[in-house]
């Protein structure tokens, strides 16, 4: 609702918002955050948090970049990149579920470790030559199919799948139950630890997919890719209705949240407001969104 209103207001206020070029850009920009916000929503709904997604983006994109620039085909590079992301998620999940460490600390550590590994991997150089399958990789993230940017299509597919999983599978049901009352879930005999690991793997995988797509979009990888991205992603999930206390969140909300952030960012630029103000606007918006949610639940309760 809010997203549609904002879009409508902007198309009336500025003559550039509704142009095809700008909409194409907005949709592609927000798709990256939205894809990870889907994974983040799963983590938040399960009662955790994943701060390492920005680093998962850079590490997976660096993996694909290094492998392909060394002459590997894309069908080795991309699975390897996703594999690295999955591994990161698994390490996060195992430390959280089996060693009982707080998600905040574990994923904060992983944030630092993974980014540093990406620097080691690339020797902190920019990579922009991707070997024999160079064009294919660039087309994947930067190209478009039937007029729609590829990242947007991937995002829509993943949103559909995630929404389905949340609502219609036992995994989704257990995930939300765990966020609601972890103890209860444990007592029913659901394997809570495996479930937790799988949630962090899912989140890291969405970051890995984004990483691979972003290489193609940017045409090159530097080690500061995805820096601070975890904050936009968490903001998107929260604006989309995910509750940091766990148990609440939707795939659709995550997408809307990401869209709203991007529309705000975009509109500030179009309205000619200094980019220095972006943080203030997005930040206030997060607080307002959560405040709205809070008032609503107070009234109902």
């Amino acid at each position: 609702m809010a997203a549609m209103l904002a879009c409508l207001a902007l198309s009336l206020l500025t003559d550039t918002f509704a142009t095809e070029r700008n909409l194409f850009n907005v949709s592609r920009n927000f798709a990256f955050v939205a894809i990870i916000a889907l994974g983040m929503t799963a983590v938040i709904a399960s009662g955790g948090i994943d701060l390492s997604v920005g680093s998962a983006v850079v590490l997976s994109s660096m993996t694909v970049a290094v492998l392909m620039s060394a002459g590997m085909p894309f069908w080795i590079g991309i699975p390897a990149a996703l594999g690295v992301a999955v591994l990161m998620g698994a390490v996060n999940g195992i430390l959280i579920a089996y060693a009982g460490m707080p998600p905040f600390v574990v994923t904060l550590g992983m944030l630092s470790v993974a980014r540093s590994l990406a620097m080691v991997l690339s020797n902190n150089k920019m990579i922009y030559q991707f070997g024999p399958d160079h064009d294919l990789l660039l087309a994947l993230g930067g190209g478009s199919t039937m007029g729609l940017p590829n990242p947007l299509i991937v995002m829509a597919l993943l949103a559909g799948i995630t929404g389905f999983i949340f609502k219609w599978t036992r995994w989704g049901q257990h995930l939300f139950a765990m966020g609601g009352n972890e103890n209860a879930v444990k007592l029913t005999g659901i394997p809570v630890r495996q479930l937790k690991v799988s949630v962090y793997v899912f989140s890291a995988l969405t970051a890995g997919i984004t990483g691979v797509l972003e290489v193609g979009w940017l045409g090159g990888v530097t080690t500061n890719l995805g820096q601070g991205m975890e904050l936009s992603v968490i903001a998107a999930a929260v604006i989309g209705g995910a509750n940091l206390a766990g148990g609440v969140g939707t795939a659709f909300g995550a997408v809307v949240g990401a869209l709203l952030i991007e529309v705000i960012r975009n509109s500030l630029i179009l309205l000619g407001i200094s980019t220095f103000w972006q943080g203030a606007f997005v930040g206030s918006f997060i607080v307002i969104a959560v405040a709205f949610d809070r008032f609503r639940s107070v009234r109902q309760g």
Binding site: K167, A177, G180, N181, N183, A184, L187, T188, G189, G247
Partner: protein, 212 residues
């Protein structure tokens, strides 16, 4: 019955298969059983209604009843949750318990008595023979206590053995056939409720009476 720290909840967890007993054996209908995990106890017909009710506030009543045992149906290659069948089954269970709980409602919006019904419906779902209830009346209003005691009577009238852990004397004497008292991890009494009295049980709990 027993004071705080007497080992009541621990005993429940042992029977439910959450903890392994450090010593001793468990017999059900004269057959020796060994539980290594909660699922083993469930298979033997033991269900637990926990003190904190072990319920997820953010899910519907039906989802809570079926938590961990969701009904699914096959659509092509994937198993999806069968919400319709779960709601119908849960509705039947609530009707059996004479509770007004509606399967679709979120547990967050329910009264203590309704939550209790959800927890008990969970136990009924698996055709339990023995239901362990850990302090079901600890945190609810007087009217709701009466509801819960009615549920307990309903269960025992239908051939289900209820083990009620409580330190509320009136509740116990209202519904129990047999009273066992634990003190500092030891069984100090196990006798028919009709042959005992609140005074005697109080003495046993505090240690004023050594053994009965």
């Amino acid at each position: 019955m027993g004071d705080n720290g007497a080992g009541k909840s621990t005993l429940v967890k042992v029977i439910a298969g959450n903890f392994a007993p450090s010593a001793g054996e468990i017999f059900i209908s004269d057959a020796k059983v060994e539980f290594h995990k909660p699922l083993d106890a469930q298979r033997a017909g033991i269900e637990v209604v926990y003190q904190d009710l072990a319920i997820c506030d953010n899910l519907s009543a039906a989802a809570n009843v079926f938590l961990g045992r969701e009904l699914t149906r096959r659509v092509g290659p994937i198993q999806i949750l069968d919400y319709a069948r779960m709601r119908i089954r849960a509705g039947e269970l609530f009707a059996r318990l004479k509770s007004e709980t509606r399967p679709r409602d979120l547990v967050r919006r329910m009264s203590g008595g309704q939550r209790q019904a959800v927890a008990i419906a969970r136990a009924l779902l698996s055709d339990a023979k023995i239901i362990l209830m850990d302090e079901p009346t600890a945190a609810i209003s007087v009217r709701q206590v009466a509801e819960v005691l009615n549920l307990i009577r309903y269960l025992s009238d239908h051939g289900i053995a209820v083990v009620l852990v409580s330190h509320r004397m009136p509740d116990v004497f209202q519904v129990a056939d047999r009273i066992a008292v634990l003190r500092r991890g030891r069984l100090v009494a196990s006798k028919r409720a009709s042959e005992s009295s609140p005074e005697e049980v109080t003495g046993l709990i505090t240690g004023a009476i050594e053994f009965a």
